[in-house]
Every structure is written in structure tokens, then in C-alpha cells.
């Protein structure tokens, strides 16, 4: 009686597409990286470049291994500033976009402020914030990271909220769904991939902002502070070692966000 399309039920939940990555896509960039480092080493060695201009990778690596504890603890300080900033900024961005997406006048009122925030180099606010909150606490740095995260998250989420399909809107109307039900059932899930696009941009911004904010003062211990102080004491390979730590930290933020994005948007077409 009942006819079923001749398709066997497939695996119910597709896993992360990580397993689909081919070896060549991993090997190629690794090969480029190795060649780059070897070339760098050879260049510094042959051309006899002084360490204050460009230290050799081997010298930097020596410093990394020798100061591993200090780099890790620095990354922890900077990383926690970036993380708190990112959480706060994301919350602000998403809630702000939900409000602006619901009430058109809020969107119009907020547009110039958001544009201004996007244009101001947020990090330049760091010295002002240090004098507001006191130079002994990390609040200023967290706020700097938070604002720089909130802007791209807000803009992308708002764009995502506008992508709700007409048929879904009609459906919700036909079900006489209440405004909050519509937001929860249709609007936020539609916007999710866009939120993550914003987060992906924001993740590296958060680390960069938290790092640069340390250049302008505040408590010591973070990677940014360590970079400036080792450069100031002419220990260039050590400064580069801290920079390496910062790169790893930034990558970590980026990759974790990317994985979260893949997981959450596994049933949606990419925006």
C-alpha cells in the first residue's frame, strides 16, 4: 500500500566533515610551511643576518623550549582576556542583533554607533580604559576584546536574521506562533551559520585586541607585555618566541570556532 522511495535510511547524524579531508589537502600546506622555515634558516645563515633584524628559526625555537612555562602562562593570561572578551562580545552582538532585527527603529538608531565602533581602532581605547578601571586589573583588555568581537558578530547575526525564508514566516503565521516562539524556532536557527561567520572573524580579532591592549600598559604577565619587554631588552629571539606563542593562541581560537561552526551548521547550506 504505502510506497517508499528506494533509498535506505542513511546515517541519521552526519559527523563533522573532518573525516572527508584528503591527505593531499593536509600535506600540501605542511610541505609549504617546512620549505618556508628551511628557506628562512638558510637565508639567515648564508646572508649572515643579525638577530635584531631577523633571528633564525632555530634560535627562536631554542627560546621557545627554554621559556616554555613563561610562554604558556603568558598565553593563559592573554587567552583568558580574549576568551572573556569573546564571550561578552558575542552575547552583546547576538542579543543586540536580535533586538535590532525585531524593531526596525533600533536598527536605524544603532547603525551609526556600530559604524563608528567598526571604524575606531578599539585598541586605542586601552589607555583610556586603564585609567578608568585602574592599571592593575585586566578589565580594560577584556572590554577592548569584547567590543572588537561584538561588532562583526552583531553585523553578521543581523544579516542572518534577515535570511528567514518567506515560507517559514508564513508557516509560523499559519501556526499562530507567538513572537518569542518564532525567534526560537525559526529566526535564531536560521541566523546560526551567520553568527558563526561573525565569530570566525571575531576569534582572531579577540586575541589580537587582547594582545595589543597589553602594549599600552596594565598588569604584566601576558604575551603582549612579554613581547614588548623582551624586545626592549634586545632579546629578539625571545620576543619572537612570545610572538610564536601568540600565533599558536590565535590559531587555537580560530580552529575551535571553526569546529564549532562546522558542527552547528552541518544541516544548513553555507551562507
Amino acid at each position: 500500500m504505502v510506497t517508499v522511495d528506494p533509498v535506505a535510511p542513511r546515517e541519521t547524524r552526519p559527523r563533522l566533515p573532518v573525516a572527508d579531508v584528503r591527505w593531499s589537502t593536509v600535506l600540501a600546506p605542511v610541505a609549504v610551511g617546512v620549505l618556508f622555515v628551511l628557506g628562512w634558516e638558510a637565508l639567515v645563515d648564508r646572508a649572515d643576518i643579525k638577530p635584531f633584524i631577523l633571528p633564525a628559526p632555530s634560535a627562536i625555537w631554542d627560546q621557545v623550549t627554554a621559556n616554555r612555562d613563561s610562554i604558556v602562562s603568558g598565553a593563559r593570561v592573554t587567552g583568558s582576556n580574549a576568551l572573556w572578551g569573546m564571550l561578552g562580545g558575542t552575547l552583546l552582538g547576538v542579543v543586540g542583533a536580535a533586538v535590532a532585527g525585531t524593531f526596525r527603529f533600533v536598527d536605524q538608531m544603532a547603525a551609526p554607533v556600530v559604524a563608528a565602533l567598526a571604524v575606531i581602532p578599539i585598541v586605542a581605547l586601552a589607555p583610556v580604559l586603564y585609567s578608568m578601571f585602574g592599571a592593575a586589573v585586566n578589565s580594560g583588555r577584556i572590554i577592548v576584546a569584547g567590543i572588537s568581537v561584538a561588532v562583526p558578530v552583531y553585523l553578521n547575526t543581523l544579516r542572518g536574521i534577515r535570511q528567514v525564508r518567506a515560507v517559514h514566516r508564513d508557516l509560523m503565521a499559519a501556526y499562530a506562533a507567538k513572537p518569542l516562539q518564532v525567534i526560537r524556532t525559526v529566526t535564531l536557527p536560521t541566523a546560526t551559520p551567520y553568527v558563526f561567520t561573525g565569530l570566525r572573524i571575531a576569534s582572531s580579532l579577540a586575541v589580537i585586541s587582547a594582545l595589543i591592549a597589553e602594549y599600552f600598559g596594565g598588569p604584566i604577565g601576558g604575551l603582549g607585555k612579554s613581547i614588548t619587554s623582551s624586545a626592549a631588552s634586545s632579546n629578539y629571539p625571545l620576543a619572537w618566541a612570545y610572538v610564536t606563542g601568540a600565533i599558536v593562541l590565535g590559531l587555537l581560537f580560530y580552529v575551535v570556532t571553526l569546529l564549532a561552526e562546522l558542527w552547528f551548521s552541518r544541516h544548513q547550506p553555507a551562507p
Partner: protein, 276 residues
């Protein structure tokens, strides 16, 4: 929900819908009268822009008429929407891609606060009805177009509505899938006994599925005639079988609808022009 229904499922009187203002004004519907009895299957057919989808949206209260009244089971359309007196399916299945098949079917029940155990039973029943019981935990992106549309139909039936509104639900499907879906729809309608207002632009589809086919013409959208398929010698829509497609009455009704669409007068008893 289960009131004794004496009034027609849909009653449309003098409805007019105008889009835009001033010189850009477009009359989508003009002076439309239509009545769909309880349990009756009525199709709206006509070329693009004849206002058939607009009329369905008005009945669903997704849009408001410029003039005239629409009643669903004797209530104003808005009241009927708020009371969830109808189920609806669109040309696009419109499933939520982040929910499973079961999650999509139970959506209306969930939104209206039906408790979890009841929902579960009802969803199993509905998926059985549309032949997708094995796919409950799949996501829509893993299903074919026809299967997605069946999920959408199951969702429309979730609250056992006495009226189904369908806006070209099979429009995007290939011919083979389409005929199979039509057979299933006939079976489902016979099982549920619901009245259906069905928008299509396929003449055979309209004739095969319906008790009556309402033919519309564009600019301004008007009803040009109604073909009573039963008067052409076909069984009532609920008792129809696949074989109806090969019966003489089927071809007679198709010819009637076609001549109404193309505007040539036909001397057939089945065509009684504007109803009422």
C-alpha cells in the same frame, strides 16, 4: 475542533484584493465567490497571475482582502487561523533543516503545547500514514524532494484539521513522483475526511484529485467557471482509484477544464459557470 459542522468549510463572498497604490495598482482578485463544503476536494486552476495562490493565502489569513468576507467553518478567517482550524502545505516543503523529520512533523503540536508523549504517538502515526516511518530520525537534507513534500503533508495533518490548504504542493516534483503523491493524497483524504482547497496549474492533477475544479483567469483574477468532475462520471474524490486516470469521464472533465481555461464556450452540463 470536533464541532458538528453544518456550515461550509470555506465560504468566500465578494472578495477583492488589490496590490499596490495609484498607477501601479494591480487587481489580483475581483468579485470572487466560492464555497467549499465540508469534506469536499476543490482545486483552483488557472494561468500564472490569476490570483489562485492569493485566494488561498486569503483563506489562510496570511493576507487580508481589500473587500469582501472570508469565512472558514463559519468563523472569520483570522479566528480560524488562531484556532488552528486548517493545515497548510506550500509549493516548497518549507521544512526546518535543523530539525529531524519527526521534529518537523511535531512542530505544530509542540508550538501549541501538546505534551511530549502524545506528540510522539501522533508523529509515529503520521509518518506511518505518509510512508516515512523509517526516516523519523533523518534530517530533511537527506531526503528526496518527494519525501520532503510528504513530510510537509504529514506536518499539515498533524492536528487533524478538517480543512487542508495546499498551494501547488507537487509543483516542484517530477511527473512520476507527482502521480504517486496524487494517489497517496487521495488515500490520505479518504482516511481523514478533510476538506481540501488545492492550488495547481496542472489540468490532469486538478481533475484527478477534485470533486470540483474552479477555473480562474488573470487580470483581474476572476473565477471563470466551475467544473463538477463528479457530473462527468467520475466517482467522488474520496472513492477514486488510480484507474480513474484512464476513464472516459476523466478525459471529459479534462476537456471541460481546458476549454474553460482557453475561453471557448462548451456545451456541457458539467459546466455550470459561476456558482451561485
Amino acid at each position: 475542533m470536533n464541532q458538528v459542522v453544518t456550515e461550509p468549510a470555506i465560504s468566500v463572498t465578494g472578495v477583492r484584493r488589490v496590490f499596490g497604490k495609484g498607477r501601479k495598482q494591480v487587481v489580483a482578485l475581483d468579485d470572487v465567490d466560492l464555497s467549499v463544503a465540508d469534506g469536499e476536494f476543490v482545486s483552483l486552476i488557472g494561468p500564472s497571475g490569476c490570483g489562485k495562490s492569493t485566494l488561498l493565502r486569503l483563506v489562510a489569513d496570511l493576507d487580508s482582502p481589500t473587500a469582501g468576507t472570508l469565512e472558514v467553518f463559519g468563523k472569520p478567517a483570522r479566528r480560524a487561523r488562531l484556532d488552528q482550524d486548517y493545515g497548510i502545505a506550500f509549493q516548497q516543503a518549507g521544512l526546518l533543516p535543523w530539525r529531524t523529520v519527526a521534529g518537523n512533523v511535531e512542530l505544530p503540536l509542540k508550538l501549541h503545547g501538546v505534551e511530549s508523549a502524545t506528540r510522539k504517538g501522533r508523529v509515529a502515526e503520521l509518518l506511518e500514514l505518509v510512508g516515512l516511518a523509517d526516516f523519523a530520525k533523518n534530517h530533511p537534507d537527506q531526503l528526496s524532494g518527494g519525501m520532503q513534500q510528504r513530510v510537509a503533508i504529514a506536518r499539515a495533518l498533524a492536528e487533524s484539521p478538517r480543512l487542508l490548504l495546499m498551494d501547488e504542493p507537487f509543483g516542484a516534483l517530477d511527473e512520476i513522483t507527482r502521480e504517486r503523491m496524487q494517489n497517496e493524497l487521495v488515500r490520505i483524504c479518504a482516511e481523514t475526511g478533510a476538506a481540501v482547497l488545492f492550488v495547481t496549474h496542472s489540468i490532469p492533477e486538478a481533475v484527478f484529485l477534485s470533486d470540483r475544479v474552479v477555473v480562474m483567469s488573470p487580470r483581474p483574477g476572476r473565477i471563470t467557471g466551475v467544473v463538477d468532475v463528479r457530473a462527468d462520471g467520475l466517482a467522488g474524490a474520496h472513492d477514486r482509484t488510480e484507474r480513474a486516470r484512464d476513464q472516459e469521464g476523466f478525459f471529459r472533465a479534462v476537456a471541460d477544464v481546458r476549454s474553460l481555461l482557453h475561453g471557448t464556450p462548451v456545451p456541457t452540463v458539467a459546466v455550470d459557470g459561476l456558482e451561485k
